[in-house]
Symmetry: C2
Subunit: 288 residues, 2 copies
């Protein structure tokens, strides 16, 4: 069985950078390292960091003296102000591409646009960007865009991990809602390339395995896109793989979301190789 991995797969630049920053802090001996919110939508990676003594804190009240990381998703300036009041060293690991999104949201607000964050309603990145443009709205679907009131001018930014095709449909609806529509296409390059790469690979193989947290929006979308083309299983870890999926499969494709660490992808590859060997043995037994 041939195994092909879509490129890019796994950690995006921003997530990789934030984890590197946390791991450096561990190495540097920083005390009581905390991350404000799960650093990445991947339970295995979180567990790996927790084993190094890093804590995820979900509420401001839980924060203890020490070091506090702002994760790649970023936070609103209002929450940032709250964090500053705590007796803690803040290290900002916001993805630079998210910073661009936040800055555009602020600029559009300052220039009098009704700001729209094209993003998922409860996604931390969208909520963070929303804080930079008071009165802005998060719009995640064509239906939501259709229900908007007409305004003189709309300024929009895009959650970095959305699927470009879906965003384009929302942009088309926004066009009907204002005399001027200004959209900053802040989807990051990594996301933009990840989905076409998965689509392409899905066309070339017999089966697709998409690896990543079930709570990771971008991994779920990757699985959706892939499943439109070829049979696709979305798994979090190698333990979920089932031998029966691989019957008659000659080529298997692997794609992984922006929040999936390399070690998980490697474990999946190794597990598929093992399944392949077992199946080959069974076959040769039958022949005998």
């Amino acid at each position: 069985m041939e195994i092909k991995i879509a490129q890019p797969s796994g950690f995006c630049f921003g997530v990789k950078r934030s984890i590197d920053m946390v791991e450096k802090a561990v190495k540097d001996g920083k005390k009581n390292i905390q991350i404000f919110g799960p650093i990445v939508h991947n339970p295995q990676q979180i567990k790996a960091l927790e084993e190094k003594g890093v804590k995820m804190v979900n509420n401001i009240d839980e924060i203890q003296p020490g070091t506090l990381f702002i994760r790649a998703h970023g936070i609103s300036p209002q929450v940032h102000e709250e964090l500053k009041k705590k007796n803690v060293e803040i290290i900002d690991a916001t993805c630079p591409f998210v910073n661009v999104e936040q800055n555009h949201a602020k600029k559009l607000h300052d220039e009098g646009y009704q700001v729209i964050i094209i993003g998922e309603k409860n996604h931390p990145e969208a909520l963070g960007a929303q804080g930079y443009a008071p009165g802005s709205l998060i719009i995640g679907s064509v239906e939501e865009a259709k229900s908007l009131k007409e305004v003189p001018k709309i300024g929009a930014v895009v959650q970095t991990t959305l699927e470009p095709e879906e965003v384009a449909k929302i942009v088309a609806e926004l066009y009907h809602k204002a005399k001027e529509v200004r959209v900053y296409n802040t989807i990051c390059q990594s996301t933009k390339m990840r989905q076409p790469a998965a689509k392409q690979l899905a066309q070339e193989v017999d089966l697709m395995i998409v690896v990543g947290g079930k709570n990771s929006g971008n991994t779920r979308r990757l699985a959706e896109v892939s499943s439109r083309i070829k049979t696709t299983y979305h798994i979090e870890t190698a333990a979920e793989l089932k031998k029966e999926w691989f019957k008659g499969v000659k080529k298997v494709g692997i794609s992984a979301g922006a929040s999936t660490p390399d070690f998980i992808i490697n474990e999946v590859v190794e597990a598929i190789k093992k399944i392949d060997k077992e199946m080959s043995k069974e076959k040769s037994k039958k022949k005998k």
Copy 2:
């Protein structure tokens, strides 16, 4: 037979204004009145003006001393400069909504955007607006938008008479082509309301008659939109009406393009009334 006329139908604000301006010039006794290009895509209206001594000139070389009107569609600043060299009084009847489109095109160009005129390739309005943004491109279809090269920022304006739904699809494609897409929705209110009004009426009647020049883009689009819903005939004048179209028809709807004069619409209404009477007579004869 009931006859319903979609509202709005017929001359848009800009065309009506330009013809009023020409007729006022005739009344004021201006000498040798010429219009640069057909004032409206309607042969009957042109004939009516020609009968008053007004001439349509299609080339700069044809211009004679006297008065020269710039029609509602507007012209490029380059052509305007050429006209100024002629020994002629220029009266600018460019539609104010087209002026808005031209000004936005210029502003976007000055601010460093790759300007896109969303419009028909050879339409005088689109060509005029293009002149305000050197290097700008006229894009009239999703396919053309797809073939664009990626650029850092796109600024777009829209030919005032396009169908909003088609433009939205082009805007969705432009979204993929730049990090920033800024669209001024310069479709005029009259066009915006005309098509939904025709669609609505098409749903309420048994037959639609769309009245207007066969060379008028907005009339053709009106007929297209209507024909998706109900049997539709696109006619230029009452003379084209055929009795057989009205067999079994209880309600007939009329819509007319932005370049269709009221007198043509009235002639069509009267002709349908006549057909209706004839058909009633034939029916009562048969009964006897």
